[in-house]
Amino acid sequence: MIEVTWGAQTHNGHVRQHNEDALLADAPVFVVADGMGGHRAGEVASSIAIDQFRPLVGASALTIADVAAAITAANEAIVEAGEAGASSAGMGTTVVGMIAVEQVGRPYWLAFNVGDSRLYRLFKGELNQVSVDHSYVQELIAAGRLTADEAIGHPERNIVTRALGQDTESQADFWLLPPEVGERFLLCSDGLSGDVSADQILQLLRNSPDPEEAADQLVSAALAAGGRDNISVVVVDVRAIYDFGAHEATIPRGGVPNE
């Protein structure tokens, strides 16, 4: 079991009429979705996606299959809803999440991503992006034609290459991560990561010990940077793990004895 505290915040931004983001932050389920599609269809898509994860809230000993089923259900529910109404045809949503699961008696974070919402991990003062965007810009970076810094503000940064509801393939990337006490996760829509640099995100996360305050600070920073898109932020702190520890470096045989 992983004991966590968290803070979550979502905002329309300064430009958009509607908030097409949706989020769910309730242990052990943390998910951010950024919907797309005209005539408020994006709102519908992201909230349909989020709804599929609600049954997992409060559950203990979730499995990979539980989470994979929720993602599949979200995809299918959006495809179905899209086929049902002309105005919602072709709608879709990104989804990024982390959910505590159990395997062989041990807890893990099962993280997943479809699209360009992001999961970051702050541990021992270092911030790492866990998820890898499914976006045109990310493909350019992977091909070596763009640096991460050049990607910020890139005119085509809104093009995602994968989204729930757009494709019938099962297409999420997954990570299974052993939890560590003291680690902090950030889930966000591109309303944050598109306008606020990783350096600034790191500073704000470091300077706000309280996860709710950290979430507020991050949203404020995105608004200050223009607030051109909807902004959603979830900050999760790992407080305790009911498990054994000892995750230090492996000691080579004949090397330093333990203690």
Partner: protein, 402 residues
């Protein structure tokens, strides 16, 4: 008449002398409906309607066998396999492997039919006269004489049957028009044989088709038609997605089965579970069953239904749902075991162990042979009861399926 039997489990079996229905999940309120339908001599369509509540999407995995005039009908869908024994003692296995299959047999040529969950195959059988039970498999014998049962009235098709008494057959119809233009199906293998519902194939040939058609994709798709009526049998797009999702998590393998529906590699000579000699049969595609367990010196037991990564603090990064490993975290007070130390991989029916470039190495001892140190990154095939030693701190044994 031989005794009908079931193996207690978690799915629902509805059994009577004239039929057996085996279904993944049957909600409480529908059990009564199914029971009434079958005890009043309902036909196949009525039973399917009772099982599914009338919807064509989201049909649960199910199997059905029933006496229908002078033939025995066996219908299996995703996740259910059937074994049909004929008067000559020849057993044929039918596994949907994600495909809907509907087969008719001439009644007096069938002596027993087993319906079971694909890949679930251990436990003791109990006799049953009739009723609804939670089961993993059902063994059903056709009544010796048609007069013994309330024969389901199938007047409309009775005549045709009377003239077609010769061959065991799978009927495969054309793909419904609504699917033909569907781009989503473009990379799905669609087995289309003939355009009339009366094309006949022998069973072995049908299984071969489904298997060979697999190619790179994970599910063959056979839509079967009956007299031009696709209702209830049409595999909807949603169902295909479900099959794909399943296939994404559990890969399909070629398999043959014994009379108890235990699945085996096509080249197997005796059943890996019950040791029975296997009949000559065409392999079929099925979701890969469990290949056994890993038993750790720490007491942990892991089922081999996906790859396994063992270590002090194992993790997996950016993989698809089907590539997600089971992580086994083992204590290493002396920290001799690396975070991700060793991996057990499944390749079809093969089980392999790979040292993940661990600091202190991995040693494998096959039964009756000297222990060998693994070369980092090089897969090493495991045989049952091989023992794997992680840095001398933790060991685990490959226990085959039982």
């Amino acid at each position: 008449m031989s005794e009908n039997a079931y193996r207690p489990g978690t799915w629902t079996a509805v059994v009577s002398p004239s039929f057996a229905v085996f279904v993944d999940e049957l909600p409480n309120e529908r059990r009564r409906v199914v029971w009434q339908a079958v005890s009043s001599g309902a036909d196949v369509d009525d039973i399917i309607r009772a099982v599914t509540g009338g919807t064509t999407s989201g049909i649960p995995p199910f199997g059905l066998v029933l006496r229908d005039g002078d033939c025995i009908r066996v219908l299996v869908r995703a996740g259910v396999s059937a074994v049909v024994t004929d008067a000559g003692g020849i057993r044929r296995s039918i596994d949907s492997g994600g495909v809907s299959t509907n087969i008719e047999y001439v009644a007096d040529e069938v002596t027993a039919v087993t319906l079971g969950r694909s890949g679930v195959d251990s436990g003791t059988s109990l006799p049953i006269l009739g009723g609804i039970v939670l089961a993993d498999a059902v063994l059903w014998h056709p009544p010796a004489d048609e007069d013994e049962v309330t024969a389901p009235p199938l007047a409309a098709t009775g005549q045709r049957r009377a003239t077609e008494k010769t061959a065991t057959r799978i009927m495969i119809d054309e793909v419904p028009a609504s699917h033909q233009d569907d781009e989503q199906l473009a990379d799905e293998t669609v087995v289309t044989v003939g355009s009339t519902p009366h094309d006949e194939l022998d069973l072995a040939k049908g299984g071969y088709l489904a298997a060979e058609a697999d190619g790179e994709v994970n599910a063959a798709y056979v839509d079967l038609g009956r007299e031009g009526d696709h209702d209830g049998y049409t595999v909807t797009r949603m169902t295909i997605n479900e099959l794909r999702a399943d296939a994404a998590v559990t890969p399909l393998v070629q398999a043959v089965s014994c009379s108890l529906t235990h699945l085996n590699p096509p080249e197997a000579f005796r059943c890996r579970i019950c040791d029975e000699f296997l009949d000559q049969q065409e392999p079929v595609l099925v979701p890969r069953p469990s290949l056994g367990h890993l038993r750790f010196s720490t007491g942990q037991v892991v089922e081999l239904d996906s790859r396994v990564v063992v270590g002090r603090s194992p993790s997996a990064e950016r993989v698809s749902a089907g590539e997600l490993p089971q992580l086994v975290q083992v204590e290493s007070p002396a920290q001799d075991i690396s975070r991700s130390h060793v991996e057990v991989r499944l390749d079809g029916w093969r089980v392999e162990v790979v040292d993940l470039d661990s600091v202190n190495g991995t040693v494998v001892a096959l039964p009756g042979r000297d222990p060998e140190r693994l070369q980092p990154g090089e897969p090493y095939p495991l045989v049952p009861n091989a023992v794997i030693d992680l840095a001398g701190e933790v060991t685990f044994r490959y226990a085959p399926a039982q």
